[in-house]
């Protein structure tokens, strides 16, 4: 019988790792992630979870242990935040290049300096080009469902790439919510045991990721790009199948909310997306035709979805919890790049960029309503008055 439990997103991530029958967990503590691996330690200790629990001396080693485990043909999991993720950076490339479908929970936390333990996306978005799929969650149920789905997506022979399942520290990580945990047999049926694309074998020795000359290196990179492109379809398929089996659909690549007739589409990720739904409902009551596109998959980036939305929307407003120094917010950049073909055909929607919630500053539905109204005003005038707005920046 499926059961409903009330717990924090970190504990829920641990429940998901258990439900996915993860066989190796590499653990190194860092705020706000620590309670993920603490909960898993409890499961392993009590015998509820049959996994090897490796206590490593750093996050670099945590990811190396996951690479080793998956190369030996078993399902691996780890979790980290901020500086821990940054320390893993090198090995993230090895995992993706070796085509190992590791799933990692990233509990988003702002990067220092200055030191911060509060959330923004500066940690995971700095890892954008490592070849990992990146999913962003808006609530605890989505954290559970996305971890299970991520294994299915990543282990698909057409993908075979690792994934980060991201959720904002404290906003979700330490906040308890009710979550439905399906029956283990049903999860087993949905997520069969891992079938590796290749596996280390003492009877058939070889080494992986050896030196590749310029004659062939590019082809291996091309295959990663192809796998990323393939994953778009699989993310949608898996979301649909998961919804049919367990009753939860989170939207696949992009959670579209009241977008059908929306003139202004707000674009954001994670919990700001959950908050924005309230704003959309309130604004609709006031007569504004506003919708929300909450990006769930940042990599692969769903450019096709934005091209489709641009058929009807007159304006997009990106609300980014991270800035690429020297340029702008990530979603703002990605939407503009995705809609470039419309720019050349001379029919672009207006696009504006807001930076909000950086370093964990609170972003409420009222903030998002104000951002939407400002954007609406610019849309009516047909002119973006300020290209990048740092929302609630102190004078």
């Amino acid at each position: 019988m499926a059961k409903v439990i009330i717990d924090t997103a970190n504990h829920i991530a641990a429940y998901a790792a258990k439900a996915a029958r993860v066989q190796v967990v590499a653990a190194y503590p860092i705020t706000p992630q620590t309670t993920v691996v603490e909960k898993i330690a409890e499961f392993v200790e009590s015998g509820e979870m049959d996994a090897d629990y490796i206590r490593v001396e750093s996050e670099h080693s945590a990811m190396a242990a996951c690479v080793g485990a998956e190369a030996a043909g078993v399902r691996a999991f780890t979790a980290t935040s901020a500086h821990g993720l940054a320390l893993m950076h090198e090995v993230l490339h090895w995992a993706a290049g070796s085509r190992l479908p590791i799933v990692m929970a990233v509990i988003n936390r702002a990067m220092g300096a200055p030191w911060s333990i509060w959330p923004d996306y500066s940690d995971s978005l700095s890892q954008r080009d490592t070849g990992w799929l990146q999913f962003y969650c808006a609530d605890n149920q989505e954290v559970f469902d996305t971890i299970i789905q991520a294994y299915k997506i990543c282990e698909d022979k057409r993908v075979l790439l690792p994934a980060m399942v991201c959720s904002e520290g404290f906003i979700l990580s330490h906040t308890a919510m009710p979550v439905k945990i399906p029956d283990q047999e049903e999860i087993d049926d949905f997520l069969p045991p891992y079938e590796p694309g290749w596996v280390l074998d003492v009877d058939n020795p070889f080494s992986h990721a050896p030196l590749v000359s310029p004659e062939w290196y590019m082809e291996f990179r091309y295959m990663i790009q192809q796998a990323m492109e393939n994953s778009k379809k699989i993310i949608e398929e898996v979301d649909k199948e998961y919804g049919e089996r367990f009753g939860f659909r989170h939207g696949g690549l992009v959670d579209r909310y009241r977008c059908e007739d929306a003139e202004l589409v707000l674009v954001t990720m994670g919990t700001m997306g959950a908050e924005a739904k309230i704003s959309v409902d309130n604004l609709r009551q006031e007569g504004y035709k506003v919708g929300l596109a909450r990006v769930r998959a940042f990599r692969p980036f769903p450019k096709e979805v934005f091209r489709e939305l641009a058929e009807t929307a007159r304006m997009f407003t990106a609300i980014d919890r991270h800035v690429s120094f020297g340029f702008e917010g990530f979603l703002f950049s990605e939407i503009k790049a995705s809609l470039y073909p419309r720019q050349i055909t001379g029919d672009p929607p207006l696009i504006s960029g807001f930076l909000a919630g950086i370093g964990g500053r609170d972003v409420t539905f009222r903030d998002i309503e104000k951002i939407a109204k400002k954007s609406w005003n610019w849309m009516e005038k047909g002119k973006i008055e300020k290209e990048i707005v740092w929302w609630k920046l102190r004078d």
């Binding site: 590796p196 694309g197 596996v199 020795p205 992986h208 990721a209």
Partner: protein, 99 residues
Amino acid sequence: MVKLEVKIPQKREDLPITPLSVPMIGSMGKTGEWRTFKPVIDYSKCTRCLFCWIFCPEGCIERQEDDSPKIDYEYCKGCGICANECPTKAITMKREEED
């Protein structure tokens, strides 16, 4: 379990999803071409202790029937480790062009 088939790729479809290499002679080509100094064994001084055979990082010294070492010059990179390790100084590093 994936059984590895050893083949040299000709086109993209021949590639595995990630590069995997099996132990085989000369997967990076004839590395002997990289050599500047060539190790030459003076068999009259050689005691067949096989230090050179153990220490050669390229595994390109062959242990012959009578335990005497034989260098495979197609793959010897000329690092000089064998000459350095040889207790009887039976191996001399000679500049390639001197031969």
